[in-house]
């Protein structure tokens, strides 16, 4: 896909109003109407994921990996919605998003913050915790082109379950925001 956005024309007196110029106006309107966005939704029909890693690892990349073409001119919002639990109390969960296999959303470097972009304690063993994590990555991080986004997850110990079955909804969305 070729992105439709082009920087709006700076008109000068005497410039002809051409079809090409007016169609660029139309293309820009279409771009703003439907900017780059991809959403992966699992409506309870996937397989629950078990994670035992204390360092961040990819969360079901076969399902959640997103490639999205960006203008490189706008901020990018990443959102992860779902549910998780750990079979052991007093553990700590962490989530992050790894971009282009180069940098994490939390730190904007190749080394994530120790707790990622979202963390939560498991107060009661097995209690299911709702996740609704979203942050905005500044446009300066991106060049124009296609970028990949993969959610990453960790648990401080024991076994964490990320729910994709059991009639639980999960979603990973990446979008340019205006």
């Amino acid at each position: 896909m070729t992105l439709l956005w082009t920087n709006p024309y700076s008109w000068e007196t005497g410039n002809p109003v051409t079809a090409d110029q007016m169609n660029k106006v139309n293309d820009n309107i279409r771009f703003i109407f439907a900017p780059p966005r991809k959403t992966i939704s699992i409506r309870g029909t996937g397989s629950n994921q078990s994670i035992t890693s204390a360092t961040l690892v990819a969360l079901d990349p076969a399902t959640y990996s997103i490639s999205l073409e960006l203008t490189g001119l706008r901020d990018v919002k990443v959102s992860l919605t779902g549910a998780l639990s750990n079979n052991t109390a007093n553990t700590l969960h962490g989530l992050d998003v790894f971009v282009d296999n180069l940098f994490y959303a939390s730190s904007l470097t190749a080394t994530p913050l120790s707790n990622g972009m979202w963390a939560n304690s498991q107060d009661i063993a097995g209690l299911i915790i709702a996740v609704n994590a979203s942050i905005i990555i500044p446009k300066a991080q991106f060049t124009a082109g296609t970028h990949t986004f993969v959610p990453y997850i960790r648990t401080s110990s024991n076994t964490l379950t990320w729910y994709e079955a059991s009639a639980i909804y999960s979603e990973f969305t990446v979008q340019e925001i205006g």
């Binding site: 956005w5 920087n7 709006p8 024309y9 700076s10 008109w11 000068e12 007196t13 410039n15 109003v17 106006v25 820009n28 309107i29 771009f31 703003i32 001119l73 706008r74 901020d75 700590l92 959303a105 939390s106 730190s107 904007l108 913050l113 120790s114 707790n115 990622g116 972009m117 979202w118 963390a119 939560n120 304690s121 107060d123 609704n132 994590a133 979203s134 942050i135 905005i136 500044p138 205006g178």
Partner: protein
């Protein structure tokens, strides 16, 4: 900074298509492409804060207070993402946003709602939890011009810790 938005022209038959009128369209497209927004992100490099006030007080204004110019014509999105805890079982942590040192996000008056714009009860002392909200101020509440936004917090009891070390905190305001 002069905001670029101009109300679109109602064209009539035989209107002159001038460079100024076409540039108004270009400028409006540019504004819609990148509207006013400020983002404050603390990427784990700050110091954890403790707070015991039972009335709303600034939450690290040095880091999170921001100013943003608004058109006064669109809804304003206020988004918050940060991690907190409290050392006292069953205590509540509360958060709100003070706008222009005059009105609160929760009530849009000079008196905040008792529970602020977001709150959580502590079911395990010192357990980490994320505090997230993403809400809109209706168009017309804030006039055109520059406005200031400061997150504020309070507790019902105990000591809240707000984490800026090792975790991500982010405050965003924009149209």
């Amino acid at each position: 900074m002069a905001l670029l938005w101009t109300d679109p022209r109602d064209w009539v038959t035989e209107d002159t298509i001038s460079k100024d009128r076409l540039n108004d369209i270009s400028n409006d497209l540019s504004y819609l492409f990148n509207p006013s927004r400020k983002i404050i992100t603390v990427k784990g490099s700050g110091s954890n804060l403790t707070l015991t006030s039972t009335t709303f007080v600034d939450l690290d204004a040095a880091a999170f207070a921001l100013s943003v110019e608004l058109t006064g014509k669109r809804a304003v999105r206020v988004k918050w993402h940060g991690m907190w805890a409290n050392n006292t079982l069953n205590a509540f942590n509360y958060i709100d946003v003070l706008i222009d040192n005059s009105i609160y996000l929760s009530s849009l008056t000079n008196t905040s709602l008792a529970t602020g714009v977001h709150f959580a009860q502590i079911v395990t002392a010192n357990a980490y939890a994320y505090s997230d909200f993403d809400i809109y101020i209706p168009a017309g509440v804030l006039a055109a011009g520059t406005h200031t936004f400061k997150p504020q917090a309070k507790v019902s009891a105990g000591t809240m810790t707000f984490y800026e070390a090792g975790v991500l905190a982010q405050f965003v305001v924009g149209e």
